[in-house]
Symmetry: C2
Subunit: 362 residues, 2 copies
DNA sequence: TTGTACGCGTTATCAC
DNA sequence: GTGATAACGCGTACAA
């Protein structure tokens, strides 16, 4: 029942004091106890021993008794180790990232890799340090996930990451992030932000809406920007002129979206529909409308983006855009494990019509 | 502008073919190019060179030109490497885990560790394989997060994990999970599930409620069970007899909770309050009540658990229990980086009263 | 089938 | 200051 922890593991004979080198039993220890050479022990433990000689059993027994755990670091140095694949995002929250990670993890583990997730908190320095550390640790690939600034500065940064990773034989893969215009060789698996919002606007137009507002952050991050462009696309398709005053700046939280909405609807009573950059914001918008006594969708229709689980439970349930997050992760994972990359991939997104959108009021 | 990628990196002179050993420049390469010994190059690169001799600059230049990235695996073998701390959960979703992870990450990175998150998908085999792999990779500590079965089987499994990890000098830390009765030496940082629900019931009782139901999964997982016990505690305190028929079994999703609620309220019109095991379930409960035309809190009061961001945005906003997830993670992180562990820690949770609870209807 | 010898990339020691 | 040399723990030709 009890383990062989307190067995007679020979004290580490290392002469160098070194800041604690683990201290577990080594292959040599096992070999010594089994009275064979290290080579034999190695073969048996790796399961590549030919037959089942007497030593075979002795090695297994010795390993068990000593509580031997193979040193993956040493194995990696021989080029036989399990290389890990890292999923790097600013912050690990929301089903969006989790779903992408799930898709990538499936293929990573299926291919014998250790799948790992790390966060940067949106801090550029931490991000750079993280990529550096991962490179030192000899990862197989890094999936850089989520929105990033659409700036020249970021492109150069990404290029630096890719270069550092390439030096250790690893790949950089942009995930849920458009390909870099100036660096097409950096892999990118993305979904259709722009077309998703566009179809949301189309849906509203078909319901008769003309005065359609957009709530989102209007900064230069790729995701917000692409979605904002999708909004403009939708208007253009319908021959509606884009009105700057209907583009409402808001932070990413539902609280901020709510606050922005309160101020907005008061000064724009003519608006009959609001397209939101994210479901989280849509939740805030809905709450603000609710509290202002504005009925959804009777007075104002609302469209979200992401299809989070919870927004289907709102009252009314939210019309939103569903993106194939799992597939994005899976494709990115495929590249990570070595599949060929033949150019940027953009997966289609899909409008999910629910109760928050309806015919325009007359 | 362009990087030194295509510089004259000497071809790997390794005689053994080995399954791709990275291929980057090594310390020896740098030393050779700088015309110094490996020892000198190592010292300079590690910043522990004494003065700034001529070689100093030459080494730095050579490293830059060759695109040298130190091999963290080799460093680790010398006992100088950066050991990582792993955060292991069944699935990485919801602000709950993210917040705990954030707390742990702060202290981990502040102490020079690489903080890493891994998921098991709730699969026992994957969990075991993961712990094994992490041990091989010589992690510094594993934070095992979230609910687990309150069974003897799990205790033994956890004990095996702890043993394996101990063999490589790593610790196992239970996070958001009660200490194991039979294995108190396994560290545990938890928050007060039971007391939190209990205070929720107390709050309802103070509002005059007597017929209080509980919606949750009634299985043997620790988290659900502890919260269920808290519900019973609250009833007992108020001298209300526990009625089995008021304990409603439900899955973890809001949909399942909604379905369970629909069936329940119909057959139990006398109930005036529902305590939910999680906020996610509470969302489903609220939706079901809404659709059944039952007003909250006029007809039925609802209490959740977790204080997710979104439940404050419900209509009405949800009364719920807030647990110190960040602190849990932080404390666990402290143990992970080597602080002493003097027995199980249980952090207090706090009731957040909002709009979903009110005086009992007459 | 088993053992010998060497290489992986790094750091620490100890002379010079 | 710097350079040989010996670890670290493991895999694997090659020879026996």
């Amino acid at each position: 029942m009890t383990t062989a922890l307190d067995d007679d593991i020979p004290a580490r004979r290392g002469t160098s004091p070194g800041p604690e080198r683990g201290g577990g039993a080594t292959l040599a220890d096992v070999a010594r106890r089994a009275e064979v050479s290290r080579a034999t022990a190695s073969r048996v433990l790796a399961g590549r021993a030919a037959g089942k000689s007497a030593s075979h059993a002795r090695v297994l027994a010795a390993a068990e008794e000593l509580g031997y755990v193979v040193n993956g670091l040493a194995r990696s140095m021989m080029g036989v180790g399990r290389r890990s694949i890292a999923f790097v995002s600013s912050i690990m929250v929301g089903p969006t990232f989790a779903t992408m990670a799930g898709g990538a993890e499936d293929v990573a583990t299926a291919n014998g890799h250790l799948f790992t997730m790390c966060t940067t908190g949106g801090d550029v320095d931490r991000e750079a340090a993280l990529i550096e550390t991962l490179s030192e640790q000899r990862v197989a690939a890094v999936l850089l996930v989520g929105s990033t600034p659409a700036t020249e500065e970021f492109e150069q940064r990404a290029q630096r990451y890719a270069t550092t990773l390439a030096r250790v034989g690893a790949r950089l893969i942009l995930c849920g992030r458009a390909a870099l215009p100036h660096h097409p060789q950096i892999a990118s698996i993305d979904y259709d932000h722009r077309g998703g919002v566009r179809s949301g606007v189309e849906h509203l137009v078909a319901l008769g809406h003309r005065r359609i507002a957009f709530v989102g952050s209007l900064d230069d991050m790729t995701t917000p920007h692409q979605r904002f462009l999708g909004y403009q696309d939708g208007l253009a398709d319908a021959g509606i002129e884009f009105d700057t005053t209907l583009a409402v700046q808001s932070g990413n939280s539902s609280d901020e979206a709510a606050a922005a909405t309160v101020a907005f609807v008061e000064s724009h009573p003519e608006v009959t529909a609001i397209v939101c950059q994210t479901d989280v914001m849509a939740v805030g918008v809905c709450r603000a409308l609710h509290e202002a006594g504005i009925a959804i969708p009777a007075h104002i229709s609302v469209v979200g983006f992401d299809d989070m689980q919870l927004v289907a439970d709102l009252t009314p349930s939210l019309t939103t855009v569903r993106a194939p997050f799992h597939d994005v992760g899976e494709l990115a994972g495929r590249i990570a494990v070595g599949e060929a990359y033949d150019g940027a991939v953009v997966l289609p997104s899909e409008l999910i019509v629910r109760g928050s959108t309806g015919p325009v009021r007359d």
